[in-house]
Symmetry: C2
Subunit: 483 residues, 2 copies
């Protein structure tokens, strides 16, 4: 007979029916006992809420009761009754309890007390059993599902672009080499160079930094596509914002110009956040509370103006501000922190790249809402962005969020072969290797656009966490590939 | 003003309304002209069906009409009217046509004739503009969405397990090394070994071969999870069944035993195939026709007994056969091909691994339906599979599909610490590196199970294609990392 006869705690909590017998299974969060009764708080991960099991020592053997300690896994069969205590509508009166797995209180690291996030990162294999990380990973799931649902409902097609790639066209930073060569004794050419013809793919290969270029190929056939896959940066940045391995969502749309792109991105972000608000209420209420407690520990001037839920609702219910880079420079140049030399990087001339402090000023102080910044100088943007008629700017957009900074980067793509190849020449991008990319401009080109969303930044925003290592199950950072 | 004013051809075909003006955009498949009129078949990738645009040479300038060649991208604005011709209900009478991108007929490789799959693989950046590959990638999308929908509806959580990993616990074949070391001049230790302390992660790292072990960690907190991500094998196999980079779906469930696992896998496979049958009718009808034409070209004895749609419906509507390995050996030993020595590998003794010819015999000749093979000898399976009471077998399952062979492999996992570590010792699996895996058996262990589905094998089965390189956008195989 199959083992899985349980009802999930989430389903149990959705009904106020009583009088029937059920089986639940899960991990013990706490046990309170007196000589007449034990109350066990059980969690099975389906919801942040525990379910209370009541155990009568006359019915449940003492050697079983003794093993019911924090972290143990148990199976409880009994009757659902109205709860006498506060905090729950119903509870289960245990008729039998089976210990599925013990958790020695001397050794189990997750005792019911507050653990630091740093400590929990070291036991990432267990941290999902805490309220905070259970909530984060349920919210992460909901956000991922919302991404797929949004695009599917709109008729976009999900494309798996390659992870291992020979193209580093973006030049978007350092990449990880992928190889099967013997590092101790690699084959060499006559000239003493590494002989990549002997490598698995018979050429140099890296981990992808973006699926965009391949995504464009698919969009020029299926018209609206998106990717959702891992991307990699071998940057030696040990910050709360950087991962060496992270997940990106990259929609690409034929027949979209820069404005269509902005409209889609704003609608998409609002949809995904709304989806979490509707489907993760319990988890978000908990995370809201958690964020507010964290905030109280900060100096007054560093505290957030809005709570987590308030911030999420604000983003969903307000139009994003859309301004050009040129307008932004004007605002920043005349801003108080610029005039009082409070910015680390003072804004003097048009053409400079914006730093995080500038983006935060625009979003958090000046507009107090998400900002879509458009039409950046071509010198500070990628070769594939569509050149505007002014000869100076490109049809780029960055979307800036409070607390997060850039959450989306995108552009209309340059579909005009001559302008594209001229720009590639200027920027030293090798054209022969990218014959396939250029082919989409040779044969049946069309205006098209797309953007990239760093998925972990989205999870960070929605959960109100502050370190990106806390929103991915097993983070990869310099010096860290544990688990 | 935003550019994207078009209606998708799929939406246009869903209505029989006439008399209104619309704009459509897409790629020209064919143009037939006489001196009074041109008929243009336009495809925008939203559906396999083309839409007919009618162009009157008195209205559309000659220099525009001339550029409307196969592969060109155009924008047509006009009135929807009832079609006079056969093959379509409505058509568009063009009031204006704009050329978005030309396609020089002398150079565009996709002329309207039959191209070989081998040739199309070389132009994978353009092949999605053909009927066959458009259909394949729309079906692939639908299958991926069905996977997410199935698990989301059941309350599973999607977990992103790491791609870069230091564990090669499965020993599941050769892996790709991931490194930032300078291959020409790598740092070495005093003993002359490569000094991986200098590498990005300060240790040896590879591309993952499976997310299962990390998936188990998450299941022991959230109870039901699944992964859907890329996995890698550096095997030098140039076959129609192997990719170096492919996508896997790996659900892991706490509180599931072997039978629960089988029930879930069967239900899941049927759901996903049903979803495609319901949502990809036009594409599957086309692929069914295509497969049947391919079949006609084969020798009679090699032809399929069922057409594609028939086969998909058969799988959805019939119970899978469930037999043990021991029963399978009995059947195979007494089978005609074994007795007549037609098998390349003759079945003599219990304990041998089954070859593809044996699996196909069971599925295609003996049972004529999908087979769930269970309880394999422990010697031919992985260390983490739960040991049965007979001391000889483990609670493994493989699901075998007609034409595909193994599509799912899974097992109940060994949750008993002592038995697990004993097996690891016997199989030389290092325990220190896997402290985190063992911890889930130390603290709050529970019966649990899971399985892995090779996504491309599923796409292969549902599309009726025969080479796995044709069901992933940009295949990675030995010597091939183009695009």
């Amino acid at each position: 007979m199959a083992f899985n006869s349980r009802i999930k705690i989430k389903s149990l909590l959705e009904s106020d029916e009583t009088g029937h017998d059920v089986t639940i299974m899960g991990w013990v969060r706490t046990k309170r006992s007196n000589k007449n009764v034990s109350f066990i708080a059980l969690n099975d991960g389906s919801t942040i809420k525990n379910y209370q099991a009541v155990a009568d020592p006359n019915l449940i053997p003492e050697d079983i009761l003794k093993k019911i300690t924090t972290g143990a896994c148990i199976k409880v069969t009994g009757e659902i009754v109205q709860s006498q205590g506060a905090g729950q509508q119903t509870e289960i009166i245990s008729k039998s309890i089976e210990i599925l797995g013990e958790a020695d209180p001397e050794k189990f690291p997750l005792q019911p007390k507050k653990h630091s996030l740093e400590f929990l990162r070291e036991i990432a294999h267990l941290r999902m059993r805490t309220n905070t990380f259970g909530a984060i990973f349920r919210v992460r799931h909901a956000l991922a599902f919302a991404v797929h649902k949004y695009f599917n409902d709109k008729g976009f097609f999900y494309i798996h672009t390659p992870i291992i790639t020979a193209s580093d066209a973006e030049g978007a930073g350092e990449t990880f080499r992928v190889t099967t060569l013997d590092l101790k004794n690699p084959p060499k050419t006559d000239k003493g160079e590494i002989d990549y013809k002997e490598d698995f793919f018979e050429r140099e290969t890296n981990l992808t930094v973006s699926g965009q270029l391949e995504g464009e190929l698919a969009a020029m056939a299926l018209s609206e596509i998106y990717t959702f896959g891992p991307t990699f940066r071998a940057e030696n940045s040990n910050t709360a914002r950087h991962l060496a391995e992270f997940w990106m969502i990259e929609p690409e749309m034929a027949f979209f110009d820069a404005e269509d792109n902005q409209n889609l991105a704003e609608d998409f972000l609002k949809y995904v956040i709304s989806y979490a608000l509707e489907n993760c209420q319990d988890d978000l209420v908990f995370l809201d509370q958690r964020a507010s407690e964290e905030d109280q520990a900060k100096k007054v001037e560093l505290r957030s103006e809005m709570g987590l839920l308030e911030r999420l609702n604000f983003v969903v219910n307000n139009e994003f501000e859309r301004i050009t880079y040129t307008e932004a420079i004007h605002i920043l140049k005349n801003s108080t922190p610029n005039k009082k030399k409070k910015f680390q990087f003072l804004i003097e001339d048009w053409g400079v790249d914006l730093q995080s402090e500038h983006e935060r000023f625009l979003v958090e102080k000046h507009f107090k809402k998400p900002v879509i910044l458009t039409d950046y100088p071509k010198e500070i943007k990628s070769f594939y962005m569509r050149q505007n008629d002014d000869g100076k700017t490109v049809a780029a957009m960055d979307i800036l969020f409070p607390g997060i900074g850039e959450i989306v980067g995108g552009s209309q793509r340059e579909e005009r072969l001559e302008l594209l190849t001229k720009r590639m020449e200027e920027m030293d991008i090798p054209q022969e290797e990218m014959w396939w990319y250029l082919d989409t401009r040779r044969f049946g080109a069309a205006p098209h656009a797309g953007f990239g969303l760093g998925f972990e930044r989205m999870v960070l925003f929605v959960t109100g966490m502050s370190n990106i290592r806390d929103v991915i199950a097993f983070p990869r950072t310099p010096g860290n590939a544990e688990f």
